[in-house]
């Protein structure tokens, strides 16, 4: 087979692989019964049009427009800039860091927490958004708390929103854009480069 054709096929395969492993960005929001709202986004992969998302990363969360972000207090930085996800393990009735986190478009399936700590081993987050539907253990809660910030919804204490997930429409998960992972982007670049070099050689001959 012609070398150029081989290169084109290889490039196509790499491209297809890149598309399959694309890290997409997902926007989410949860509206509490009292009108408070959690918004944010994260990157992840989906194979079913965004019905379920795995490989969660780059998490950003805000509660009533105030970002989950570090705060300086008396020269000390409180809070971690990087948020992570943990799964609520319905068998163990606790958060763990071994079960892969899956975020669902159907809110009634969600069992996760986004916080600035590993919730499996650290119970002192500075901010958290937990969305748990565990009928087995009687835990059905949406909780958003920022222990570093205040707002008018929670006079006298730090930010807190809390309810029992009711209407499914309270939770929204939307796929925004495909963002190829850096590794696959590099492979795609290499493939295209090979095609270019082969084409130049053919023209030179």
């Amino acid at each position: 087979m012609n070398v150029l054709v081989k290169s084109v096929i290889a490039t196509a395969l790499i491209g297809a692989s890149a598309a399959a492993n694309a890290q997409n960005t997902f926007d989410f929001s949860y509206t509490f019964a009292d009108g408070q709202e959690v918004t944010g986004d994260f990157t992840g992969t989906t194979t079913n049009g965004g019905q379920s998302v795995t490989n969660i990363g780059n998490i950003q969360v805000s509660l009533n427009g105030i970002a989950f972000a570090p705060v300086m207090s008396n020269g000390v930085t409180l809070g971690n800039a990087t948020l992570q996800a943990n799964t609520w393990n319905t068998s163990a009735a606790s958060f763990d860091d071994t079960t892969p986190v899956v975020v669902y478009a159907n809110g009634a399936l969600n069992n996760f927490v986004f916080s600035d700590v590993d919730a499996a081993v650290n119970t002192n987050p500075d901010y958290e958004f937990a969305y748990v539907n565990d009928s087995t253990n009687g835990v059905q809660e949406a909780v958003a708390a920022n222990f570093l910030q205040t707002d008018s919804f929670s006079p006298g204490s730090t930010q807190l929103a809390l309810d029992t997930p009711g209407s499914a429409s309270n939770w929204q998960l939307t796929e925004v854009a495909a963002v190829p992972a850096p590794a696959t982007l590099a492979l795609l670049g290499v493939g295209l480069g090979i095609v270019g070099v082969r084409g130049r050689r053919r023209r030179a001959i």
Partner: protein
Amino acid sequence: MKSDCQTPRPTKVAAAIASILALSSASAFAGVSIVQGTVGGAYFTPPVFADTAAASAASSTVASVYAGATVCFDLNGNGACDAGEPSTTTSSTGGFKLSSSTLAPLVAQIGTNATNNGHAITSRNVFRVHSQQIQAASKSPLLAATVNITPLSTEVALAIENQGQTYAQALATLTQRIGVSTSANTLLPPTQVTNSADQAAILKESVVAQGRLTLAAKFVDRGDTVGELRGNFDCPAVASFDPTNADTCAASDLATVAIPAAEE
């Protein structure tokens, strides 16, 4: 008759006073704390004795909720809601939601600006929840624990602090003493107890406990010292009791105390 009720009742009053006077300290546990619940109790109306039947009325006790009460995490363990402690105000249904970066006991300050089932409150009261009760109700510190603040939760807190019981022991003891069928009902706000017999038992105990706690709050507001209070309640038979030094009241004196008139 006297021997049956000599020690427990004065001891409870003293314990209630002690708690309001902050003789106990806050428990220090790791982890944040998120709670939700209801401040509830009983609304009691005494009997009315009149010359005519129409003007007379029997007493009544109904399950109630406290609206407009201040609920806080008692971070310094002084039995009061201080500036800087996370606090909120109960809704019209007595409900509250509150978070703290540190687990601590809960206090509900029921002032005269609050209402009991919509009725004005003429004498303030203080109910409490021990941090062990919060821990027992919590599936995870990152999730909300449902904890109700009632006269009975206050009794459990006092038993933990003053009698050295664990939360489980205190709850089991109280449940058995007042005759509630399951401990799952004991610390519910009476409005949420569906078993009528259990509700009646809880209401009966709530009225008694509320009265004691109100009395204790009055002593505090009056400025009585700890020594005076302990002298009044724990050591009335000790002629040489020094009200400025409560330590002179020995534990053995508790066995011979009489019920003071004030508690009746």
